[in-house]
């Protein structure tokens, strides 16, 4: 990256000449000059927050060079301002000290790596006029909204140039008719786009997230719809970028990946067939196994008395909860003794439509609990042999955090098969997302997922599924 004066060339700073004798010298330099300070600040913002920020959060950043011209501007008819234009970022003088604007233009550069330059540069054509709260066009809103969102995300704050991305006025439930201007929807509004992307990105599962993400079918798949508009073909992999980004966040394990995963299924589905995805969001059940100790106070068919979840042995991911150790080997994962152990399984459940759902704890031996939205809805915390338990819950559509706790006591026989049934599907193992009505399973994972490849062939590919399948 180079910061250039539009006509004077690169910015550089020269010290006063000094005489140096052989030996060791220390020369500390502080750059004070105002124009140089701004040039270095632009450089610092783009490298530290832009390139390195993406590397930290996504493990990817653009490989191509970008030139930054400052002070400069793009002028189209009467409106001038900062812009991205064919591997070049042009910043008007006043924007040179605005990290928001610098990273917004960087956001255009990033998006252009996936969509190529032309769709990004011409997104707001022919007038190139746009403003944060205004209706423009689907292309313009996507391009500008994405860029503003990326700036906010890299800066770690839900605002762009003071516009609040959490503001209800941003209308991030997507897409919906603008109450202010009934002739338009928020799909052509860059504030709404940026806010919807932020809502999917942030660590707060909000009621409108499924709306932003578009849970109700191919015709209304939310924010991602407009990324598929003319010039914004999803083939270029922006969804992979997104998925990789959110999946790397420890606080969003699995949950954030679900939206794009669902989109993938939706795109693969026949748009003429009404089908709804449901199931467990990738990467599936986050499973933690603990070794516990016998306290000698339990009795058969009595409550579990010993402390559970005491010593963490291993963590892994399972696609379903289905194990039976009545046959060897007697432990579900290596490292556990066969007796007095416990496990906690957590994940995000995608509920396709509001309704009554039944959860089956089949062959439960010994204890089991179920938490939905952090509320305990079922408990059988008893020492006993295999038995069938069930619980019925009415749930809204959308993403539901789900946790299953299991405890095994004396003897080596341990088993649990967690099934579920809901409106539209019969009892089945609660596992990876499926398509309701189409009987379709997600695409298998290719090995090359870890390479984000703008313009590449590795597209529409889900993330790797961690191995660790239990031995039934």
């Amino acid at each position: 990256m180079t910061i250039q004066h539009p006509t004077r060339g690169r910015y550089f700073h020269e010290t006063e000449p000094i005489e140096l004798n052989p030996g060791t010298h220390i020369l500390n330099v502080t750059i004070q000059r105002e124009s140089l300070r701004t040039a270095f600040s632009i450089y610092d913002t783009l490298t530290r927050l832009g390139w390195e920020g993406l590397q930290r959060q996504v493990g990817w950043s653009p490989r191509e060079r970008v030139n930054v011209y400052w002070p400069s501007r793009c002028v189209v008819e009467r409106i001038g301002g900062s812009c991205y234009f064919y591997n070049g970022i042009r910043l008007v003088e006043l924007d040179g000290r605005s990290p928001d604007v610098i990273l917004h233009e960087f956001g255009h550069f990033v998006l252009s790596r996936f969509h190529r330059d032309d769709p990004i540069i011409s997104a707001c054509a022919p007038t190139f006029e746009h403003a944060f709260p205004q209706h423009t066009s689907l292309h313009c809103a996507w391009s500008e909204g994405w860029a503003s969102f990326l700036a906010a995300a890299l800066l770690g704050k839900p605002t762009y140039q003071g516009w609040d991305l959490e503001d209800p006025l941003a209308r991030s439930d997507f897409p919906r008719v603008d109450p202010v201007d009934p002739r338009a929807t928020n799909a052509d509004n860059e504030w709404a786009v940026a806010a919807a992307l932020w809502d999917l990105f942030d660590n707060l599962p909000e009621p409108w997230d499924p709306h932003a993400d578009g849970w109700d079918g191919p015709a209304r798949n939310g924010i991602w719809t407009i990324s598929t508009q003319r010039g914004f073909d999803l083939d270029f992999g922006i969804e992979e970028f997104w998925l990789k980004w959110v999946e790397r966040r420890p606080d969003r394990l699995g949950e954030a990946a679900c939206p794009m995963y669902r989109l993938q299924i939706l795109l693969a589905a026949d748009p003429l067939v009404y089908s709804v995805p449901y199931g467990l969001c990738p990467p599936g059940w986050s499973a933690a196994f603990f070794q516990d100790q016998d306290d000698g106070r339990w009795s058969l068919n009595g409550p579990i008395t010993w402390p559970t979840f005491t010593t963490l042995v291993t963590q892994t991911t399972w696609s379903t909860i289905a194990f039976d150790t009545h046959a060897a080997p007697n432990q579900p994962v290596p490292g556990l003794r066969g007796t007095f152990w416990s496990a906690r399984f957590s994940g995000w459940l995608l509920v396709p439509q509001p309704g009554s759902l039944r959860f089956f704890f089949d062959r439960l031996d010994d204890g089991g609990r179920l938490f939905l939205k952090d509320q305990k809805v079922f408990e059988s915390w008893i020492v006993h042999g295999p038995r069938e338990e069930r619980v019925e819950q009415r749930l809204p559509a959308g993403l539901i955090p789900i946790t299953v706790e299991y405890a095994q006591g004396p003897a080596y026989e341990a088993s649990l098969f967690l099934n579920w049934a809901g409106p539209g599907w019969a009892k089945e193992l609660l596992g990876p997302i499926r398509l309701l009505g189409a009987g379709m399973a997600p695409t298998p994972t290719p090995a090359g997922w870890d390479r984000i490849s703008p313009f590449g062939l590795d597209r529409r590919t889900p993330p790797p599924r961690p191995t660790g399948t239990p031995t039934p």
Binding site: M1, T2, I3, Q4, H5, P6, T7, R8, G9, R10, Y11, F12, H13, E14, E16, E19, L20, N21, P22, T24, H25, L27, N28, V29, T30, I31, S35, L36, R37, A39, F40, S41, Y43, D44, N67, S72, R78, G80, G81, V92, E93, L94, D95, R97, V101, E129, A131, F132, P133, Q134, L155, G156, K157, P158, Q161, G162, D164, D167, V180, D181
Partner: protein
């Protein structure tokens, strides 16, 4: 791209041989033209929060109207949004049309801007003069809807403020609009910070009884940037304006009568942030140190070698810059640092070596410096680490004769 190519070309040894011709060309390139600027009806800040549409011609004594289009909002718990209008004393403010409450302060020092001088401080100008200050309290959101010219006059949530003014006397006038939006920002890591986003526009004018010339700050400033570029890069000349820089930059002719708001120095080159002495209008100062290092011939086996045995020179340090955004010292990271053996091609005992002259040259007198000291040469190159630190370890033949120049470049690896 053009600029960097020019640097590459002019920095090459072949280019130096054609130096006089190129210098002649640049002599004319340094003379600014005199094309007037034509005002356009709408000016907007880059964030589009603030737009300004002038109506009428601001000739002396003739009222003209300025409509400010405002798009903004913040939360009720945050300080209210304000619009500040600053007018030079050469303007008479006749009316302010707004539903909002406002305060007017007259005949007080106000901050005004000069497009010929670098300054990006949003809240301050580069000089102070007497004027009028109006502060409009905009609350937290526009009260209603407006038809905004930026969006094809479609109705949108926003607010307008209209100002009617009149130029009192011939000469310079300025009117600035500053929109301040205080926002409490909540970062993902839990920090909160009250930050004020400032959008500002400046209308710069020069009026006479028969004519009015005006443009916005950004346009005038870009004109200045373009002019600066003509006398920079590989060859430094000092740009001399044919007349008052302010009038020149806003497109007012030399003969336009009137008074400026500040006395501008006739020796204008003091304000340029480049080395060199002031020269007369159009006269070039030779300076060819700004060359691409890659194009500089490095010592080869056939190059002159030091006569003395080499000695070690270790140089280290840190480079910081004062961040204009936060005001704190930040390390300069990943930036190229170069170590040169000669500060500038000053006239001196070694000048003849890199710049042969076309006329017969007498045999150079013996020099106390070994030949390597006479070659304009880069001794080392490195990149600063994350903490801004750098270090060089070089062998030098005659360190006592060497001057070293550091050139941190904003060029990444």
């Amino acid at each position: 791209m053009v600029a960097s190519m020019a640097i590459w070309f002019l920095g090459s040894p072949a280019a130096r041989r054609g130096l006089p011709l190129l210098l002649l060309g640049l002599l004319f390139a340094c003379v600014p033209g005199t094309s007037p600027l034509s005002p356009t009806p709408l000016r907007c800040t880059s964030d589009r929060r603030l737009c300004l549409a002038p109506e009428g011609t601001p000739r002396i004594g003739q009222p003209f109207t300025l409509t400010f289009y405002l798009i903004y909002s913040n939360r009720p718990q945050e300080p209210p949004v304000t619009l500040t209008l600053i007018a030079s004393s050469s303007l008479e403010l006749l009316a302010l049309e707004t539903q909002r409450s406002y305060q007017t302060q007259s005949d007080l020092p106000v901050s005004l801007v000069d497009p010929a001088v670098y300054s990006i401080r949003p809240d301050g100008g580069v000089f102070t003069a007497t004027g009028t200050l109006i502060t409009v309290d905009l609350g937290h959101a526009p009260a209603g809807k407006i038809r905004h010219p930026l969006f094809g006059n479609q109705e949108t949530v926003g607010e307008t403020v209209r100002l009617v003014a009149r130029v009192k006397e011939a000469g310079e006038w300025q009117l600035r609009g500053i929109l301040r939006l205080p926002v409490e920002e909540r970062f993902l890591d839990g920090r909160t910070e009250l930050r004020t986003y400032t959008s500002w526009l400046g209308l710069l004018g020069w009026s006479t009884p028969s004519q009015a010339y005006w443009t916005d700050y950004e346009t005038a400033r870009m004109r200045m940037v373009e002019l600066e570029g003509q006398c920079a890069g590989t060859f430094h000349c000092t740009l001399r304006f044919p007349y008052d820089p302010y009038r020149y930059l806003i497109g007012a002719p030399a003969e336009a009568p009137g008074r400026p708001l500040r006395e501008r120095p006739t020796t204008f080159c003091d304000t340029f942030d480049r080395p060199g002495i002031c020269a007369d209008y159009g006269l070039l100062e030779h300076k060819d140190t700004l060359i691409e290092p890659e194009e500089i011939p490095m010592p080869t086996p056939s190059s002159p070698q030091p006569a003395t045995s080499s000695q070690r020179l270790d140089l280290s340090g840190r480079i910081h810059f004062l961040d204009p955004h936060t005001g704190s010292l930040q390390p300069v990271r990943g930036v190229r640092v170069e170590l040169w053996n000669e500060p500038e091609p000053q006239p001196g005992p070694c000048r003849w070596l890199p710049k042969p002259t076309p006329r017969p040259t007498p045999v150079p007198p013996p020099t106390p410096h070994p030949p390597i000291a006479c070659i304009h040469m880069r001794l080392g190159i490195t990149y600063t680490r994350d903490d801004g630190s750098y270090s060089f370890s070089v062998s030098t033949a005659s360190p006592s004769a060497s001057s070293c120049v550091f050139t941190p470049r904003t060029t990444s690896a």
